[in-house]
């Protein structure tokens, strides 16, 4: 008999592609009763760019990151949840925390860059697929779903 899902990790950031992924993760958690682990990876580089390197560079609190709105969304969906605020290279950190929390599934959004942009910028979902041995659910933006239909 299939084992029920215990924990689902969902990568949260402030990009529009994150919203369909969060929606999908909530649906899966609701259906299975699994706990949602909301993970956001922040980078010191972002702070340096934001203030021109002048600092001080404070460690952000959860509520001031994209985890804040994600938490309230998950809470109102009535799903069990916890958060992970990480520092570093997003795909690597997501893969590490997925192992650490022993999640059954990682859910990420995809920006669906095409051609040169994709080659130049890379993509968290692509790198994560190589970094993690756990099942990865890649949720594309709705624009693409409509375009493909």
């Amino acid at each position: 008999m299939a084992q029920p899902l215990q924990r689902i990790l969902v990568a949260v950031d402030d990009s529009p592609s994150c919203q369909p992924a969060l929606k999908e993760a909530i649906a899966l958690a609701k259906a299975s009763g699994a706990e949602l682990v909301l993970a956001h990876v922040t980078s010191i580089l972002e702070h340096r760019i934001a203030d021109g390197g002048r600092g001080p560079h404070r460690v952000p609190d959860v509520a001031s990151t994209p985890l804040g709105p994600a938490c309230s969304r998950v809470e109102s969906a009535g799903v069990r949840w916890s958060t992970e605020l990480l520092l570093g290279y997003p795909p690597k950190q997501l893969a590490l925390v997925a192992d650490d929390r022993d999640v059954d599934l990682i859910v990420v959004g995809s920006r669906n860059l095409k051609g040169l942009k994709r080659a130049a910028l890379g993509s968290t979902s692509n790198v994560l697929l190589k970094e993690s041995s756990r099942p990865v659910l890649v949720v594309s933006s709705p624009e693409r779903a409509i375009a493909a239909a």
Partner: protein, 160 residues
């Protein structure tokens, strides 16, 4: 009722994908649509006896796909998951994505690395093609994903 599309070629990661697909179908109370695509890569020129060799390859692939589908369906039935199987011939990525669109699949489940053929050795072949063309979310599953061991060893094993 939701449909989860499982694409399988019987490779180790596809077997792991089969387990995950069944688990999700069970959780989501969805039906499972198991898709096998017959795909033979042959040199594009004729030589003496070429036709026979080609036909052997085709029928070998047909037998293989049928067996893979039967095994996956059997596994789904053991878990009390309703399933159908589809056996098609053609381009693997296009076929999977077209069926997903036709059947309005809720999600597609694929293994990360398929069997045989140079293009399938490369990560970014079938699974990547499906990721970029799929009309719905795609779950990519690696071989032995359920065994939490040292990540490095496992990652290397999966790539080779």
């Amino acid at each position: 009722m939701n449909t989860i599309l499982l694409a399988t070629d019987g490779s180790p990661s596809a077997l792991e994908a089969t387990r995950e697909a069944i688990r999700l179908a069970d959780e989501l109370n969805a039906r499972l649509l198991i898709v096998g695509v017959e795909h033979v890569t042959v040199p594009a020129y004729g030589y003496y006896g070429y036709g026979e060799v080609y036909n052997d390859l085709l029928s070998g692939e047909h037998v293989h796909v049928q067996r893979v589908l039967a095994d996956a369906a059997h596994e789904a039935e053991d878990a009390d998951v309703i399933c159908d199987t589809i056996d098609r011939t053609g381009d693997v990525v296009d076929t999977i994505c077209d069926i997903a669109a036709q059947k309005e699949a809720r999600l597609i489940v694929v293994g990360s690395h398929g069997w045989s053929g140079v293009r399938r050795f490369l990560f970014g072949s079938v699974s990547m093609g499906v990721l970029h063309r799929a009309p719905c979310p795609v779950l990519v599953v690696r071989a032995h994903a359920s065994q939490p061991t040292n990540g490095q060893v496992r990652a290397d094993a999966a790539v080779v």
